[in-house]
């Protein structure tokens, strides 16, 4: 069953075609990775899916509903939440507060609740605090809840951003290079976390450079090069595809990236 379908998606910047007629499906409950050299159009693709920018052509269908050109907050409300390649935390706030903000869509308190704190609002705040604390434990940041987010190491900031996105209880989570800046050990732990996210019923679509992570984690791999889809298949198929070796894996050595 496909939860996300990208159809003929194209985005031009002036004369440059960053994403060129890309079509693929993301199977529900699984982990799909988009790989490709730098400049292959991966982040642009994410921006088009998540509503950060409108596509020039093509459409995006999420869970049977067309979301092409919807605003990011509307896309998030439907259950599609993303992280960013360059981590975008609320750096003045604590680690816990960051995750609490992630629960925004699943609470309803407004001005009235803030000022008068009726019973239901106190109840809601307790639930928010608990959910946030649980998610921090899930990504292994439970002990750091009260630190300012800006004080975390880069790898931990990535984990925090992921916990914050999970707090929105997405049905599909888009992870933009979650392993960037992580060492081998952190990367292995990340792989386990991603698997557990998928096991919990959340579909994962990720962009990644770290081939080890992709090969160990993903069920399905989509390969992009120069904005076009080169191929799609299981990690094993992709690894042995001559086009991919030429376009991407071989390209690493000749400085394609």
């Amino acid at each position: 069953m496909s939860i996300l379908r990208v159809e003929g998606l194209t985005r031009r910047f002036g004369g440059l075609v960053a994403v060129n007629d890309v079509t693929f499906d993301v199977a529900a409950g699984r982990i799909t990775a988009v790989i490709g050299p730098n400049g292959a159009g991966k982040t642009t693709l994410f921006n088009l899916i998540s509503g950060a920018m409108p596509p020039s052509e093509g459409r995006v269908v999420f869970d049977g509903r067309e979301i092409t050109g919807l605003a990011p907050e509307a896309v998030a409300r439907l259950g599609l939440v993303r992280t960013f390649q360059l981590v975008k935390l609320f750096s003045d706030l604590t680690v816990l507060e960051n995750v609490k903000i992630g629960t925004h869509l699943h609470a309803r308190g407004g001005l009235f609740a803030a000022l008068l704190r009726p019973g239901w609002a106190r109840e809601e705040e307790r639930a928010v605090a608990k959910a946030a604390a649980d998610l921090l434990d899930f990504v292994g940041l439970g002990d750091l809840a009260d630190l300012p987010a800006a004080g975390l190491s880069y790898g931990r900031q990535r984990l925090l951003e992921m916990a914050r996105a999970l707090a929105a209880r997405p049905r599909l989570i888009l992870l933009d290079e979650p392993a960037a800046g992580l060492n081998a050990e952190e990367s292995a732990r990340l792989s386990a976390i991603i698997r557990r996210i998928a096991a919990g019923g959340t579909t994962v679509l990720l962009i990644e450079h770290d081939m080890t992570l992709v090969m160990n984690t993903a069920d399905e791999v989509v390969v992009l090069d120069f904005g076009r889809k080169v191929t799609q298949g299981t990690p094993h198929e992709v690894r042995n595809n001559p086009d991919v070796i030429a376009a991407y894996l071989g390209g690493v050595e000749i400085g394609h990236g």
Binding site: E73, K88, F90, D92, E97, A107, R164
Partner: protein, 306 residues
């Protein structure tokens, strides 16, 4: 524990004014009125990190509503005040909807223009505002037969209002609403990706801010008994920013501390009055250069280091 220092300082000063009465009570009263204004400014600029140089417009709406409704139509101060606050929030809604879509310099200039338009209207709409002459004989705060006329009585009322305002700010800070404000301040892109309707929360912060501004503007006319366009001029904007920066932008106690320090400092120097606005301008420039997050953060960093 260090967090208690500003509160003790503020309580001490206000308590002293309450005991001493007289002139000291008057000065602290002004500081408290400004504190209400700055609490609102802080919600919009400190919490939500948005820019407005035109909040004086809403103070003017509040103040003139109170003045006109009580003197020309014989209303009670309280309903007049309430009408002013509602009017200001309504005006903020009408103005804020298109304005807050602007960014950067355009937003800054548009809000500055809104302040100036309001000023010009208060000068020119003479049949209602009496222009530069202003409106005098505005009744003091009160309810029915019971009115607050003594310095100390006014001070007590203002203390209660400021306490409520700060309480509101603290509660907002610790709520879903406040978190959404801080999310908008931290990263609009990240906030939107989490489903936060950024435009809506900017507008909400703007409306709240306008409400506090109008309340302050209205309190002013009832305490002083007089209003003229100059009360809500551009200097009000600079003064309130100075207070916000002195006290610490984005903090709960900041507006009160800033308002007290900035109002009381000139009283410590004789003959300083004439140079007041000049000094505020200079002080603000120095603060922006040397302590951009406010004086209180300067102390905090020192303490953390030693």
């Amino acid at each position: 524990m260090l967090g208690a220092v500003p509160w003790v300082f503020a309580a001490g000063l206000v308590g002293y004014a309450l005991v001493a009465g007289g002139y000291m009570a008057t000065v602290v009263s002004f500081a408290l009125i400004y504190a209400v204004f700055v609490v609102g400014l802080n919600l919009f600029m400190g919490f939500t990190a948005q820019v407005s140089f035109g909040q004086n417009a809403f103070a003017a709406i509040g103040g003139y509503s109170s003045a006109v409704l009580t003197t020309m139509f014989g209303w009670e101060p309280l309903p007049a005040m309430l009408t002013g606050v509602c009017g200001a929030v309504l005006a903020a809604l009408v103005v804020g909807y298109p304005t807050l879509r602007l960014k950067g310099h355009y937003l800054a200039m548009a809000t500055l223009a809104i302040g100036l338009i309001t000023y010009e209207i208060t000068v020119e709409w003479q049949s209602v505002t009496q222009g530069y002459m202003g409106i005098s004989g505005i009744p003091p705060l009160g309810l029915g037969k019971w009115t607050v006329t003594s310095d100390r009585g006014q001070l007590v009322v203002l203390i209660a209002i400021v306490a409520l305002s700060l309480f509101a700010a603290a509660r907002i800070r610790a709520s879903r609403l406040g978190r959404a404000f801080f999310a908008v301040a931290g990263s609009e892109e990240a906030a939107r990706a989490l489903g936060i309707d950024v435009a809506r929360y900017k507008l909400a912060a703007f409306l709240l801010s306008a409400g506090f501004a109008a309340l302050a503007g209205s309190l002013f006319v009832h305490v002083v008994g007089f209003v003229s366009p100059e009360v809500y001029g551009l200097h009000m904007v600079i003064l309130s920013f100075t207070m916000l920066y002195v006290g610490g932008i984005g903090t709960v106690a900041g507006p009160l501390i800033g308002a007290l320090i900035v109002s009381l400092l000139p009283e410590a120097f004789r003959g300083f009055k004439d140079y007041q606005d000049l000094a505020y301008g200079v002080a603000l420039i120095l603060l922006l250069i040397y302590a951009p997050r406010g004086l209180s953060t300067l102390f905090r960093r020192r303490e953390a280091r030693s």
